[in-house]
């Protein structure tokens, strides 16, 4: 039957038409556990108003959600927003739609790393990297090595500034000079390896 109303396969946004398959970034984010709820966001801005670091972010959490839904991959992953998240979960508990905004930030950090948007000397990402190396090697965190590596990677001169701080902790018996290793490091390494393989599939 002929009809005046044709079913449009495409959604028109401005001059460009965006086909469903071009929404890959948005779709990926909401397919990841913890990311699905951003569908429910009504852009009230409670998250942005609650975040202690929102004023340092390129885009507030509210904007980040809007941009993910608009599939603005480049802009979102290049931004500093998720790297300024403190993981304090204030946005998450206040969100009237119960969106796990803090968890969304974790998802975006991982995607930014995977897609190569993270600067080599990025501070927050390098700090995280140091902890990852620690855990893989020892099964636990060894603060001294983690700190030294962090400064060498991001700001070697900063190490000098931190020396008195480290010394203060050392003198109080709060800066062990040796790592604490777990016994079953082999088991730990195997678990990490398995998880890595699963990430790839």
């Amino acid at each position: 039957m002929a009809t005046e109303f044709k079913t449009e396969e495409k959604v028109t946004v401005g001059p460009k038409s965006v086909a469903e398959e071009e929404m890959a970034f948005r779709d990926e984010v909401w397919s990841i556990p913890g990311g699905e709820a951003i569908r429910l966001c009504k852009q009230c801005g409670t998250c942005a108003g609650s975040c202690p670091n929102a004023n340092f972010m390129d885009y507030s959490p509210r904007k980040v959600i809007a941009m993910v839904r608009a599939n603005m991959k480049e802009e979102v992953l290049r931004s500093n927003s998720m790297w300024w998240c403190l993981s304090c979960y204030l946005c998450t508990i206040r969100c009237p739609q119960e969106i796990h905004i803090t968890d969304l930030m974790y998802i975006l950090k991982q995607l930014a790393i995977r897609e190569g948007y993270v600067q080599k000397r990025g501070r927050s990402s390098n700090l995280a990297k140091g902890i990852v190396e620690n855990v893989r090697k020892y099964g636990r965190v060894w603060e001294l090595e983690m700190m030294v590596r962090y400064y060498l990677r991001t700001n070697p001169l900063g190490l000098i500034g931190m020396a008195p701080f480290g010394l203060k902790l050392f003198l109080k018996g709060r800066m062990p000079l040796k790592p604490h290793r777990i016994k079953n490091r082999k088991q730990m390494r195997k678990i990490v390896k398995m998880a890595e393989a699963m990430e790839a599939r």
Binding site: P33, G34, P52, N53, F56, W84, L86, S87, C88, Y89, L90, T92, I93, H100, T102, D103, Y106, K109, Q110, I113, R123, S124, S125, N126, L127, A128, K129, I131, V132, N134, V135, G139, R140, V141, W142, E143, M147, Y150, F165, K168, L169, K172, G173, R174, M175, P176, H180, I182, K183, N184, Q187, M188, K190, I191, V192, M194, A195, E196, M198, E199
Partner: protein
Amino acid sequence: MKYTYFPGCCMTGDAPGYEQSIQAVCPTLGVELIKLDDWNCCGATAYSSIAELQSFCFSSRNLALAQKEGRDLVAACAACYTTLRKANSYFWEYPEVREKVSEALAAVGLTYDKRVNVRHLVEILTTQDGILKTLEDKVKVKLTGLRVASYHGCQLVRPKGGFDDPEYPHSLDLLVKAVGAEAVPFPLTSRCCGGSMTISRPEITLGHIYKLLRCAADNGAQCIIVACPVCQINLEAYQGKVNSKFKSNFNIPILYFPQLLGVALGFKPKELGINRNIISSKKILSPYVS
């Protein structure tokens, strides 16, 4: 009461005073903490930022080891508590996470198939029947007149589903009152101290710390108690830097909460690792220490 205890990396690193005071105070209150053998790092905020699935997998190694013990798993670090809780809830809420984590655990001969309750030490001391009463009864030196700000921090009470109000918690105040001290009003009690970014963005975090110290000081607090090693080092070790940035002169002792309880229970400061804190609390504690 017996619990499986998850110390976390800070207890073997920058927070020996926390560990020491926990080990002194808990047995006195009838709380038996049995260390989880060969526990590993929970992954904290950092590992999850880079590879969350890996973090879930090895976090769950702890849960699988704890399952064998058959008791609730208790952490005293707010970050460990939240991270283990997150791994636990994602494991049980998302079948795809459960499947992958189980597979990784199975590869090393571990099973996690019976939910282990993850709890915080503050929760145990304040919600478990009779413990607050025991604490009151065992007090040897009432801390009358000591004004304490209870800083709960963020991850102790957030996200939802924990043991206290996620914005206006009061659990630590219960402990403060039980030992006879005064819990001063502290509106910023669950405002984040910025701990996860102190190293990477000190210029910002110092502002967060300043607000907390200001709030505590303005409300007349003589000391702040915390239930997280990250909060402790952040509020204590950076006070000098805060002072030079904001032209303030804070010198507020930051005590791990069991250190405060321990003083009231009659332990010597050294037995509670108070000597390992950077800011001396001699002056404020001297009336209560023999």
